[in-house]
Subunit: 538 residues, 2 copies
């Protein structure tokens, strides 16, 4: 009924796959962060995990589902109890979960989704929609918030795929995971081209509910830009937007459902743009003289409409750490040499560029971007660097699990601002993280989503975990960064969504009247307030 069993319950991705961290890299990282020898630990055994005692789920909810589609066993609850943020992972690894759904409903189709929502509204049972389980903002926390019980609503059975080849759109079920959607569409000769780092686990419904952005979003668009129509099944009924390429008929209801994070209802169908499967994928590495000049190159590319489909610029620190973690053979060695050569100027920053599409279009666009890169002082590293990045593009979360096992705190967060204020945001957030984590931390950043008017910044930070105080340590860093973002006028999230972790900053983000407008919509679509309590709205 679900493929969740093939994933780790305590960490990222396929149950049978772990990342390798070389002994040299481990030693360097421990030394730099001051990790004590023997720190860290493996996750506890599944049978030792302690979940909160389940509250009884009102009979009406079970009655709304065919037999076997309301699960109450511990593993089913555990597997929907958390996302994959640092606090989530630490709670899972330690087996101490304060929150878990009391039961898991797995509706077979849209009618059953509607039936479950109807059954929950009366007795006020909270509903947490569940897609891929990859939230990094507490979007899956089973917050009761005064409700009688909390159920997880797993959309895993809604997996339809229908292609409109003329319009190049596909209508997809929300439960399809990234690889599954790509495989189905690939068999029809097209691609969605949406590759977030969470690709292996995340689902179509989750992409839409959180306004996901993928690694190739510069070329293919963020997921919210790709969605042409969708269906929301809410407690008050079904809302379906028109499948027309655009409409001027009032405020956009599609844009009201996108990013609603399960608080208005459940996204039960998504129509989105697809493209012909690419003839050619070409990824390559460059080294920019420094982060500022690399940023200027990207601004030029974005403002001249010459962007590669994938573009990612690491700052000096991320460049250094990536090379260190990756070892020093092959292209990494050559990259390092180029980097050191440039270092004599002002340091160096790794830039990954990727193009996908028809052979001739890739050639033409690559040549345009190459000219701009060279004009901006960047040095080409060639295709090997790009291919290596491409091969490892979904590796980050696996690596993170290993570092957690070594006693390292690792977390990421992201924001965005206009070009004129990006440097200010970069300094403010980096500074806040360093202050919270102390001198023996690593705070690194890349710019991976660029627009004509601005770009996003994606921060990764490392520190030695303080045993027993990991969550407080994380909280201090997260709060410092969020407050810095708000002060600098950036957005609290470019593509990770709000969930529970960012909800306290929504007032700063949209203002009191903005919150009121969103609350008004929620009250109309979810009058009993059962949909994903504690998320999005403070």
């Amino acid at each position: 009924m679900s493929d969740l069993d093939s994933f780790k319950w305590w960490g990222w991705g396929a149950a049978d796959r772990r990342a390798q961290v070389s002994a040299t890299a481990q030693a360097a990282l421990r030394e730099e962060l001051g990790v004590e020898p023997g720190a860290g630990s493996e996750p506890i055994a599944l049978e030792r995990v302690a979940l909160p005692e389940p509250r009884p789920v009102p009979e009406a909810v079970g009655d709304a589902m065919p037999a076997g589609r309301l699960l109450t066993d511990t593993e089913a609850r555990l597997r929907r109890a958390a996302g994959r943020s640092y606090p989530d992972l630490m709670r899972l690894r330690s087996g101490k979960l304060e929150l878990a759904p009391d039961a898991v409903a797995v509706p077979a189709d849209r009618a059953e989704v509607a039936a479950v929502l109807s059954a929950c509204a009366g007795p006020r049972v909270a509903v947490v929609p569940f897609g891929g389980g990859s939230s990094v903002v507490g979007g899956l926390d089973a917050v009761a918030d005064g409700h009688a019980a909390v159920i997880s609503l797993d959309l895993g059975a809604l997996r339809g795929v229908e292609l409109d080849r003329t319009s190049l759109t596909a209508t997809l079920g929300p439960g399809l995971r990234g690889p599954e959607a790509e495989a189905a569409l690939g068999g029809l000769g097209v691609t969605l081209g949406h590759f977030p780092q969470s690709f292996e686990q995340a689902t179509i419904g989750g992409y839409a509910a959180t306004r996901s952005a993928g690694q190739a979003s510069s070329g293919f668009g963020r997921f919210d830009e790709m969605v042409t129509a969708l269906e929301l099944t809410s407690p008050a009924g079904v809302l379906r937007t028109r499948e027309t390429p655009h409409t001027a008929a009032g405020p956009s209801l599609r844009e009201l459902v996108l990013g609603s994070e399960g608080t208005l209802g459940v996204i039960t169908e998504v129509t989105c743009r697809v493209r012909p499967a690419p003839q050619l994928r070409r990824y390559e590495g460059w080294i920019a003289a420094d982060f500022a000049s690399g940023r200027e190159i990207i601004r030029e590319l974005a403002q001249r409409d010459e962007m590669p489909d994938t573009l990612r610029l690491s700052d000096e620190e991320e460049t250094r750490v990536s090379l260190q973690l990756a070892g020093s053979e092959g292209w990494q060695k050559r990259a390092l040499d180029a980097y050191l050569g440039l270092r004599r100027r002002r340091g160096g920053c790794l830039l990954i560029c990727g193009w996908e599409g028809e052979r001739e279009a890739v050639r033409r666009r690559r040549s345009l971007a190459g000219r701009r890169l060279r004009a901006g002082g960047a040095v080409a590293l060639g295709g090997t660097a790009g291919r290596t990045w491409e091969r490892g593009r979904f590796e980050g979360p696996y690596l993170r699990d290993e570092l957690l096992g070594l006693g390292v705190l690792v977390e990421t967060l992201e924001t965005a601002h206009s070009w004129s204020r990006l440097e200010e945001l970069y300094r403010a957030v980096g500074g806040a993280l360093r202050e919270a984590l102390g001198p023996r931390s690593i705070v690194m950043c890349h710019l991976s989503h660029a627009y004509a008017d601005g770009a996003s910044l994606y921060f990764t930070f490392f520190a030695a975990a303080r045993p027993g105080e990991e969550l407080e340590q994380w909280r201090a860093a997260k709060t410092g960064a969020c407050e810095a973002i708000v002060s600098a006028g950036g957005t609290i999230t470019h593509h990770h969504a709000v969930g529970r972790d960012h909800a306290p900053y929504m007032r700063a983000e949209v203002g009191e009247l903005g919150l009121e407008a969103l609350r008004a919509v929620k009250q109309r679509l979810d009058p009993a307030g059962v949909m994903n309590p504690g998320k999005l709205l403070p």
Copy 2:
């Protein structure tokens, strides 16, 4: 205080400018439509116009405005009493207006806008925001809807221009007209690139409130795509969205304000993307073998990301009528020859393509599109055809006034659909219009806004006006077309907005729950329901 005096009160555009229709074209049109000799008439004199008796405006409203900023004279009321749809124009020309605002407030700044809205909420005075007065969907009708009085809120004094050269965004006052905004930005070396046919009159605030699309929207984006942030001053307070290139922080409030048509509040500031002023503008004409093959060429261009900035394909009928109205010398003659040559195959359709930007980018993009056009069987007419179109691009509404004076009913309407259902929509709407207007009518269409997943269709229709029954005649055609659009699953409007004329179709467009969501937002932002009653929501 206002430049409205420089425009016609009874028709389109500059008071001192009229279009010429050649005697040959007049004769041909009369003959084809069966217009009786002597039909039609000039507009009556301004002093003979009869406005409804003004209701007294509560003192609080006058008190909220500095002296001289609340106008009550007949001409001030008349000039804000109607938009520029066929019914609007017929009412103005005949001097018989059933609706007019009781007074006109002209706030000097955003604080005065807020003050007026506050003053109106208590005594329930309806407020109709007024930008350029170019609505063609009844968006300006002074509907009292149970209110004590109706005021027009003229945003003409809010004309700020501020450029962020690094981020290539401009923050603009809502009262700036198209030419004024372009002149100010042009002086700073940039362009908005938004050129709707209403350019001369329409304003920035109106563009945003109605989700305007311009002639170059294929390249520059529709106006709603260009807006990065905006401010809404509502009766309940001010809502301002963040100036970041994107955010995943929940549903998009920007997209809730865009298209709100003054029903939620007044758009008091708009930040939007600009581009460097183009080095080169290149417009050229082509002839496609027929509408279907021209449409396929455009679909290819859109799906391969090879679209010109402007692209417009006339169907066979529009091609024939345009050439007829334009005369038969110069390029028109050559176009006609090419057209007739092609006719031996299956007819011919005029295609206008335009590129704007850096010389080299224009050359490259033009060559790409040219290849696709030739591959699709289109024949190049050269630059003269394009330049002629470019020169006459804002001429349509002037021409229309002249045809009205000759006793011809002329109206336009537009819709959009996915590529796979565009042909069905084209036939359905054309058929409905021909049925309503009878055999001696002209119904023509062009495709001018194309996307990867679909395109818009823009219909223009002509018939002999039935004296004294013009509005009923119009109503029958409009209703037939709207019902055909709804049945075919198209959108009721691609870029003219909803206003009062399309409000009855909003239930079909967004569903009952969609309406409920919009009503919920309106109740929160405009609790007294004073904002633009009778528009958008049925």
